[in-house]
Amino acid sequence: MDNPVAERIKQDISDNDVVLFMKGTPVFPQCGFSATVVQVLSHLGVKFKGIDVLQDPGLRQGIKDFSNWPTVPQLYVKGEFVGGCDIIREMFQSGELQEHLSSAGVETQTAA
């Protein structure tokens, strides 16, 4: 427990099925890449927790170290790192994201 930021990240990704570490909030994203991932998740009707890394410099660096991934946004599903903006967009376009979510047991609503 010598790394409180990592402990908090672990807690967040185990308490919530889908967690997006992002810049800004789902309602007011502060970065185009974060906004893209929010749009994809909203389009799929996925409930997710958005965590604003800009509110906390320790988290902003901490999430990069935790995931071994140098950029934000970062999407976690069921405690597992799925990817950043480019990966999420590609997976959404190919249908893999929908598959990944449903095989993880996450509810989605296909937009009519």
């Binding site: 185009g32 990817g83 950043g84 590609e90």
Partner: protein
């Protein structure tokens, strides 16, 4: 050397790409966080390499990020990546 050239050089040396495009997109992000005068902050990279074969998207992008760790901790703020194995490359 410009950052784009350095990125190109590093990726070429490490990945022996069949195709590599590095575009400085910084002007599109004018005024965004991380942006600064003169470019060199936002890049778009498309790279096709045999080394990506059989690797997950996350692993491929981690490879690229690791190769460019110095740039990312310096001026590069955003890196849009498309990492393809040769068979996935439809533009050849």
């Amino acid at each position: 050397m410009k950052t784009a050239e350095r990125i190109e050089e590093k990726l070429t040396a490490a990945l022996s790409p069949l195709r590599l495009t590095v575009v400085d997109d910084s002007h599109k992000h004018e005024g965004h966080s991380g942006w600064r005068e003169g470019g060199g902050t936002h890049f778009r990279v498309e790279v096709v390499s045999e080394l990506f074969d059989g690797k997950s998207r996350v692993d491929r992008q981690r490879m690229v990020y690791n190769l460019l760790a110095d740039e990312l901790s310096d001026t590069v703020h955003a890196l849009q990546l498309k990492t393809l194995a040769p068979l996935e490359d439809t533009r050849r």
